[in-house]
C-alpha cells in the first residue's frame, strides 16, 4: 500500500500529524500537517515515493496562512494533503527545486496572497499585471464583520 509506505517514509521527519483521511468525505487518503520549514523534506519524500504535485495553494486566516499541498500518484489511488501553518509576514521555503512544477504554483500563491518563498528562482507575479499593488485573495476581515449573513444570502 502506497499510503503505508508514505507514512513510513514520513515517520523520521517528526511531523506534527500523519493520519489517514476519510476518503469518502474529503477525498484524502492521508492527511499530514507539517511546519513550513519541513516542506522541502516532505516534498523530497513524496517525490521519492513517485507522487506528483497536484496542487499548491494557500488559505488566509485571521492569524496565519495555511499552505496546502496536494500530492497524488499516477498508478495508485492515494491523495495526500500536506498542510503547513505559516505565520503572517513570514516566508516559506520553496519546493520548486524538487518539483519544478511547483514553480508556477508558488508564483500564483505569491501573486494572490503575497506569500514569499525563499529560494524561489523567479518569484514574479503571474496572473495580475506586474505593476499591481495588491494581493486579491487576502481576506478583508474588518469589512466582513460588517456584512451580515442574511445580506450575503440574498
Amino acid at each position: 500500500m502506497l499510503s503505508e509506505n508514505i507514512k513510513k517514509a514520513l515517520g523520521p521527519l517528526g511531523l506534527e500529524k500523519v493520519a489517514p483521511g476519510d476518503y469518502a468525505k474529503t477525498g484524502y487518503h492521508l492527511e499530514v500537517a507539517a511546519a513550513p520549514n519541513q516542506m522541502p523534506a516532505v516534498a523530497q519524500v513524496m517525490r521519492d515515493q513517485g507522487c506528483f504535485l497536484e496542487s499548491l495553494t494557500a488559505l488566509h486566516f485571521r492569524e496565519h496562512f495555511t499552505l496546502v499541498y496536494h500530492f497524488a500518484h499516477y498508478e495508485e489511488l492515494c491523495r495526500t494533503v500536506v498542510k503547513a501553518v505559516l505565520p503572517l509576514g513570514q516566508q516559506a521555503p520553496t519546493i520548486s527545486h524538487i518539483y519544478p512544477g511547483a514553480n508556477w504554483y508558488e508564483r500564483e500563491v505569491y501573486d494572490l496572497f503575497g506569500i514569499r518563498f525563499t529560494g524561489h528562482p523567479d518569484l514574479r507575479r503571474i496572473l495580475l499585471p506586474f505593476e499591481a499593488d495588491f494581493h486579491p485573495l487576502l481576506k478583508q476581515f474588518e469589512e466582513e464583520a460588517e456584512k451580515s449573513e442574511t445580506k450575503a444570502d440574498a
Binding site: L128, P129, F134, P136
Partner: protein
Amino acid sequence: MIKIGLLEEALNLARANSLWPMTFGLACCAIEMMAAGAARFDLDRFGAGVFRPSPRQCDLMIVAGTISKKMAPAVVRLWEQMPAPKWVIAMGNCAISGGPFYYPTQYAIVPGADLIIPVDVYVPGCPPRPEGLIEGILMLEEKITKRGRLRKFRDVK
C-alpha cells in the same frame, strides 16, 4: 481627405460588404466567433469571413470576451494600430458591461469595452449565438451605409 458624395457612398457600400475582422479572441465568445466563421454559419457569405491576423489589414475588431485589466492596454494598442475607417463590435456581456464577472469588489476586469475604445454595435448574450454575431455584423453594415446591404438579407422564416 477629399469627400465626394457619390464616391463616399460607393466606398461605404464597399466597406460594408467587405468587413474583415481581426483574429482576436479573448475568452468564451471567441469560440462562438470561430463557429460563426465555420461551416454552418459561414460569415464569408457576407464578405466578412476573411479573418486577418494583423491589425493593419482589418476593418473590424470583434471584442469577443472579457477584457482583463492586464489585457486592456493591448486591446487599445491593437485598436489604434488598425487603419481608419475601423469599427468595433462588443460581443457578449463581458465586452458590453463586464457581464457575469462584474461585482463591486471585482479587481481583474474592465467592465465594458466602451470604457477603453469606441464601440459601434453591441451583441448581447453569454455567449451570443453565432446568429447573434451575424445579426450584429448586418446591423453594423446598415450603420455604415445608412441604408443596408447591397442585397438585403432575406428574413429566414
